[in-house]
């Protein structure tokens, strides 16, 4: 019990440290890029007086350390401040974009995990076969293709030329748990297919390679040979004995990639006009919307901490040795 408490305390400390560093980086970074007030007023019509008043109202006339201090004070009351551009509470704004990103990342990750693991297992059990060579070659291509190019090709082939799927946007949504989701409507699903594929394809390749390497290794292990000698079916060896043994690196990579997608699916979200967190982050950086940038980075940091915790927990579930050592 004490050990568990220690682990949780450690994690919280980590999260706190991350938050502090992230917010400082966001603050200093944006401050050094330029003055956000020029994106708030219309620079082609504003008078110097307008600019001065807007600067004061946003608190941008204070020295940076005092602005940071004000930010910390606000944070203590649970507020990340008001977005300079959208005039809404920054954290609520980020949270409102979260469902779009979450469903996109979740669908992409589920597709990638299932397909990637399947392909890796198939290839790994038949090393050197034609299937294996195709999978290995295809994954190299899938990993080397830049995501903007992949997205553009998907749009060109599956939307512009053939008209099978819409070229972008979220389509219609339905409300569930107080949030709007695309995957609950047919139209929304149609919109989800291409961006999810664009995110999934490199991950399919990554996971397939990991799974293949693991399978090849495990297939040579003594316990598999022992299973064979015992007369256990190939299917059972594959799913009951091989899969759990190769799953640790896969789970790690899935956790990391999922976190990355939640925060930094910027390219795919921009090209498909998917209104998610990544797009909000890059727009906000361009517009120097500091409250939103800091709120997003904080959320991202927390997400990674939580995902890492989940991955660690899954380790313990899947690998008895971890449980024993803990």
């Amino acid at each position: 019990m004490m050990a568990l408490f220690k682990v949780i305390a450690g994690r919280l400390y980590q999260a706190f440290l991350l938050l502090a560093v992230m917010s400082l980086v966001g603050f200093v970074g944006i401050h050094s890029v330029g003055n956000p007030v020029y994106n708030v007023v219309n620079i082609e019509t504003a008078t110097p007086e307008d600019i001065r008043r807007a600067t004061e109202l946003l608190g941008l006339d204070l020295p940076l350390w005092r602005q940071y201090f004000v930010f910390l004070q606000n944070l203590a009351t649970g507020s990340f401040g008001i977005s300079y551009i959208y005039h809404q509470p920054a954290f609520a704004l980020v949270m409102s974009k979260l469902p779009a990103t979450f469903e996109l990342a979740a669908v992409a990750m589920i597709v990638a995990t299932v397909t990637g693991t399947g392909l890796g297992l198939l290839a790994g059990t038949r090393p050197g076969s034609r299937l294996d060579r195709v999978v290995v070659a295809a994954t190299v291509y899938a990993l080397s293709v830049p995501s903007f190019w992949l997205s553009m090709m998907l749009i060109l082939l599956c939307a512009v030329t053939t008209g099978w799927f819409p070229s972008g946007g979220r389509g219609s949504t339905a409300e569930f748990l107080g949030w709007d989701w695309s995957f609950l409507t047919i139209d929304g699903l149609r919109h989800l297919v291409l961006p999810a594929l664009a995110l999934a394809i490199p991950n399919i390749a990554l996971i397939a390679r990991l799974a293949r390497a693991g399978t090849v290794e495990v297939q040579r292990a003594d316990f598999v040979r022992f299973c064979r000698a015992k007369g256990i079916s190939d299917r059972r060896i594959l799913f009951r004995h091989t899969l759990p043994n190769i799953s640790l690196p896969i789970i790690t990579i899935v956790g990391l990639q999922f976190g990355g997608m939640l925060a930094f699916a910027v390219v795919v979200e921009s090209i498909f006009a998917w209104p998610g967190v990544g797009k909000l982050l890059i727009d906000s950086i361009q517009l120097l919307d500091r409250p939103v940038v800091v709120a997003t980075l904080t959320l991202v940091a927390l997400t990674f901490v939580v995902l890492n915790a989940i991955v660690d927990l899954l380790y313990a579930v899947l690998d008895p040795r971890v449980r024993i050592s803990a």
Partner: protein
């Protein structure tokens, strides 16, 4: 169940899902779908004077006076207006107009709107106060008559009011921005009613069947905010939307091949080079040995030489792919207040060289040519092209393009010697005052005169021209004034880029507006 049947069953269900996915087609015939770059950051129509907000909100709200595509004033919610005395205007309002909630539109709503803009809103939401600060008092004489008293002579008050959307007076004081952003009480008199809005994502509108100007053409209008130009082009090419605005010139051919039509109009604006003239030494300007030299731009001959060595045709043809107009003044020739005497000149390198030598720079000098990159069509490439042209007269220019906010910060801090700027406005005198008048923080004049150009004779003539009543006399005065000041080469006019929009087969025609607006009212549907 054995493996084969299980597989078959799942295969069937996948197929049925796929069929369902492909079957969902486009919307009904009278629905208009638009991909726009305008973000619509707030539903408060009085928050900031940005096209980003006003373009889309003009479906819901209307102005007293409307500026047509020739920038001429047309009756909006006001049917007529006249200047009663030097400081008093009277507006006659349209009768029998109702807001979307059924309440009648009266003079009292105009009073409310002007007071909300002038007195209630505080920065950063005070963007429209520039248009109301000259208003001393506004009174509803009767339900269809409004009288406005101004602090001084305001010959262009109707033009100023063409920026302001009329809101209904509510029962509970001034509406706050937060309340408006909820969308629950967003009612105007416009041709389309507000249905739903998601900040930075979508805006949905429905036809206002009781519209005073006749039944609007589209039954539903949905805007999708798509900031990436490539994504807007793809959406139009794929037929996901009927209109896409701000199409990059390089994508026009692709769109045409895909069967889309493309419309364009020269923008009522100018992009230009501006000089630092206030300082003895201009930042980034040195001789060829990197030694500082006295500010060469203070000599009008140097400014003229640099202007002569700009090849506008290359910029317009090569960089803007023809979707730009070479410029010699603030607005494209032909719009009100422009001078017929000023026409864009071809590059004359020999004359430019001779002028430079005459001014004492036979060997030229070195400059850093600054500008934003990616803010205006062709901005970064123009810096490159002009730097190459100037090399031919011995001026070594180093082009430096940076993000717009960085550019503004540095320009505001006086770190530039020469830079690429832009000006737009509802009329040409807005730019004449902002870019060229001597800066004065009290009056707000010279807001874009970052280089401290000072010409007292010009200031005096501008003040005088601005007191002339709107009409040919005023336009003539402004045109003469432009002739007068441009002969001093205070800036180097470059080009008026074109607003480009594309539309699909469900729209027969789309009328472009030089202010760059994107609205459903500009689109005519195809006959079914």
């Amino acid at each position: 169940m054995n493996i084969t049947t299980r597989f078959r069953a799942s295969g069937l269900s996948v197929a049925s899902v796929l069929i369902a996915l492909f079957a969902a087609g486009p919307g009904a015939a009278q629905d208009l779908r638009v991909a726009t770059s305008y973000k619509l950051m707030t539903l408060d129509p009085h928050f900031a004077t940005l096209n980003e907000n006003s373009s889309l909100l003009s479906h819901v709200f209307e102005r007293l006076v409307y500026q047509d595509e020739k920038l001429a004033l047309q009756p909006g919610l006001a049917t007529s207006w006249k200047r009663v005395s030097d400081t008093r205007w009277e507006f006659k309002l349209r009768d029998n107009v109702r807001f979307h909630d059924g309440s009648p539109f009266t003079a009292d709503d105009v009073v409310y709107t002007i007071e909300r803009v002038r007195d209630f809103l505080k920065p950063p939401s005070g963007g429209f106060q520039a248009y109301t600060k000259a208003i001393a008092a506004v009174k509803a004489v009767d339900p269809t008559t409004v009288v406005i008293d101004t602090v001084d002579s305001q010959p262009t008050l109707p033009l100023a009011l063409s920026a302001i959307f009329i809101m209904p007076r509510g029962s509970a004081g001034f509406a706050t921005t937060e309340a408006l952003n909820t969308g629950s009480s967003l009612v105007g008199t416009g041709p389309y009613k507000f249905k739903a809005w998601r900040s930075g994502e979508t805006l949905d509108l429905a036809r206002n069947d009781d519209y005073w100007g006749g039944r609007p053409t589209w039954s539903n209008v949905s805007f999708r905010i798509v900031e990436s130009p490539a994504a807007r082009v793809a959406a139009l090419a794929a037929g996901d939307v009927d209109i896409a605005d701000f199409v990059p010139a390089r994508d026009v051919e692709t769109l045409k091949q895909r069967g889309a039509k493309v419309e364009s109009v020269p923008a009522a604006r100018l992009n230009f080079f501006q000089f630092e003239l206030g300082k003895e030494v201009a930042p980034g300007v040195t001789d060829k040995a990197d030694k500082p030299i006295p500010n060469p731009f203070r000599d009008a001959r140097v400014r003229k030489a640099l202007a002569l060595a700009v090849d506008r045709n290359v910029i317009v043809d090569k960089i803007l792919s023809g979707y730009g107009t070479a410029a010699s003044q603030f607005f494209p020739n032909g719009l009100a207040g422009t001078s017929p005497n000023l026409t864009p000149q071809p590059a004359r390198y020999e004359d430019a060289k001779a002028l430079l030598a005459e001014a004492g720079y036979p060997n030229g000098f070195k400059v850093v040519l600054n500008g934003p990159a990616g803010r205006y069509p062709g901005d970064g490439e123009t810096l490159q092209a002009v730097a190459q042209s100037w090399a031919r007269i011995g001026v070594n220019a180093r082009p430096v393009g940076v993000p717009f906010s960085v550019f503004n910060t540095k320009r505001g801090a006086g770190e530039y010697g020469i830079w690429y700027g832009g000006c737009s406005g509802e009329s040409v005198d807005v730019c004449l005052e902002a870019v060229l008048k001597s800066p004065d923080s009290a009056t707000g004049a010279g807001a874009l005169n970052f280089g401290q150009y000072r010409n007292p004779a010009y200031d005096e003539r501008l003040d005088k021209a601005r007191t002339v009543d709107a009409g040919p006399d005023r336009d003539k005065a402004l045109a003469d004034l432009t002739d007068f000041v441009m002969s001093d080469e205070p800036i180097i006019p470059l080009y008026h880029f074109h607003h480009i929009s594309g539309h699909g087969p469900r729209v027969t025609s789309y009328l472009m507006h030089p202010r760059g607006w994107t609205t459903a009212m500009q689109a005519k549907p195809a006959a079914n």
